[in-house]
């Protein structure tokens, strides 16, 4: 195939024989010692070979360098994400402290005699429903995790949809408060996936997912709606779930932005809006 075919007939054949012809085909008789040209030709050959070596080496080295560069960039980005997450956690705890302070002040104001009778009970009931106060009580803890042999982007992982279903089943079971990995579900909470992570209250969660609920004690039974849902997730997708009845303590919900509460225009008057 590499020999130049003297009677190449077809177009392809002549193309192949020309393109694949041996460079040294014209150097006809094999001689005993390698042929030597003038010295400067040998020197040029040396330079050409050196150029080839340099070419190959430089590309290999620059490719390795590019990989290193990518790794460095990735590491730097990961560091920034970690720092930002820590900042968010720090500020969130500050917000929680302030919220607790606000709740205390609210109680003080409501404890004063000159407010409408019954408004304190009403405020307590609303706070429990809206999830702005911590909640403790008998309940269940459900731990769900990916299937042991789960691969990336497969359905054998816990999806945002699964956590939504579990939370809704717990509400149906009569739960009065739910938290996922320590994030309280309130009326404005979204359980979504962002990239590869599940996000609750704009915070990415890490596996395994721990769903705690106050109330909903019946969820431990396998015949309950929650039990059936978990069994279905286990048999269809291999998700691993464990349900335990225990006393749970839920944190207050993270209210990112009050919808109706407004700062009092005249703080001196002590009004609560």
């Amino acid at each position: 195939m590499t020999e130049a075919a003297p009677h190449a007939s077809g177009l392809l054949e002549s193309f192949m024989s020309a393109a694949l012809a041996d460079d040294y085909a014209d150097v006809a008789p094999p001689v005993e010692s390698a042929r030597r040209g003038p010295v400067f030709v040998s020197a040029l050959a040396l330079v050409a070979a050196a150029a080839i070596g340099l070419l190959i080496t430089s590309v290999l080295i620059s490719n390795l360098g590019a990989n290193e560069q990518r790794e460095r960039t990735r590491g730097a980005l990961a560091d920034r994400v970690t720092t930002a997450t820590a900042t968010v956690a720090e500020r969130q705890s500050l917000v929680n402290a302030k919220q607790a302070h606000v709740s205390d002040l609210e109680r003080q104001v409501l404890a004063d005699g000159d407010v409408t009778p019954g408004i304190r009970e009403q405020a307590d009931a609303l706070a429990a429903t809206s999830g702005t106060l911590p909640l403790t009580g008998a309940g269940v803890e459900i731990t769900v995790d990916d299937a042991p042999d789960a691969t990336a982007n497969s359905l054998n992982q816990v999806l945002d949809r699964d956590l939504q279903d579990i939370a809704n089943a717990l509400w149906r079971e009569g739960a009065t408060g739910i938290a996922i990995n320590g994030h309280r579900l309130i009326s404005t909470t979204a359980i979504r996936s962002a990239g590869e992570a599940i996000v609750v209250n704009y915070e990415p969660l890490a596996r395994p997912y721990r769903v705690e609920a106050v109330g909903a004690g019946a969820a431990v039974q396998s015949s309950s709606g929650v039990g059936r849902l978990l069994a279905h997730l286990g048999s269809d997708y291999g998700l691993v779930a464990e349900t335990k009845a225990r006393d749970v303590a839920l944190p207050a919900g993270e209210l990112h932005q009050p919808r109706f509460a407004m700062p009092s225009p005249a703080p001196a008057s002590g009004g609560v809006s």
Partner: protein
């Protein structure tokens, strides 16, 4: 022999010197390397067949690299850069395989 020494010198220089490839040349470098490899294999085969020739080695290296890079450059300008690269690489790879087969036949008689 001279070619092998030159190759080693080039590799050593590359490792010591850490050359940075200009961005503008980067698309043509892989093609240039495949073309250079073709010249290397051809030269090695000729060496095995005892008909190596410095002049042919230089000419084949230079023409291979220049023509391959020019074809890819032209392809880029015409908007068929990827296809042109594929074509060039296919032809060069076939030549490399043919030369490798010849070298193998000489070395192992198989």
């Amino acid at each position: 022999m001279i070619a092998i020494i030159g190759l080693l010198i080039g590799v050593a220089v590359g490792i010591v010197w850490h050359p940075v490839v200009p961005i503008a040349l980067q698309p043509y470098l892989p093609i240039a390397i495949v073309a250079a490899l073709d010249a290397v294999f051809g030269g090695f085969r000729a060496l095995m067949e005892r008909r190596f020739d410095d002049r042919i080695f230089i000419v084949s290296f230079l023409s291979n690299v220049v023509i391959a890079s020019f074809l890819v450059f032209l392809g880029d300008q015409l908007g068929v850069g990827a296809q042109m690269s594929t074509g060039v690489v296919v032809v060069l790879a076939m030549r490399i395989f043919a030369n490798a087969a010849a070298i193998r036949r000489i070395l192992f008689r198989a």
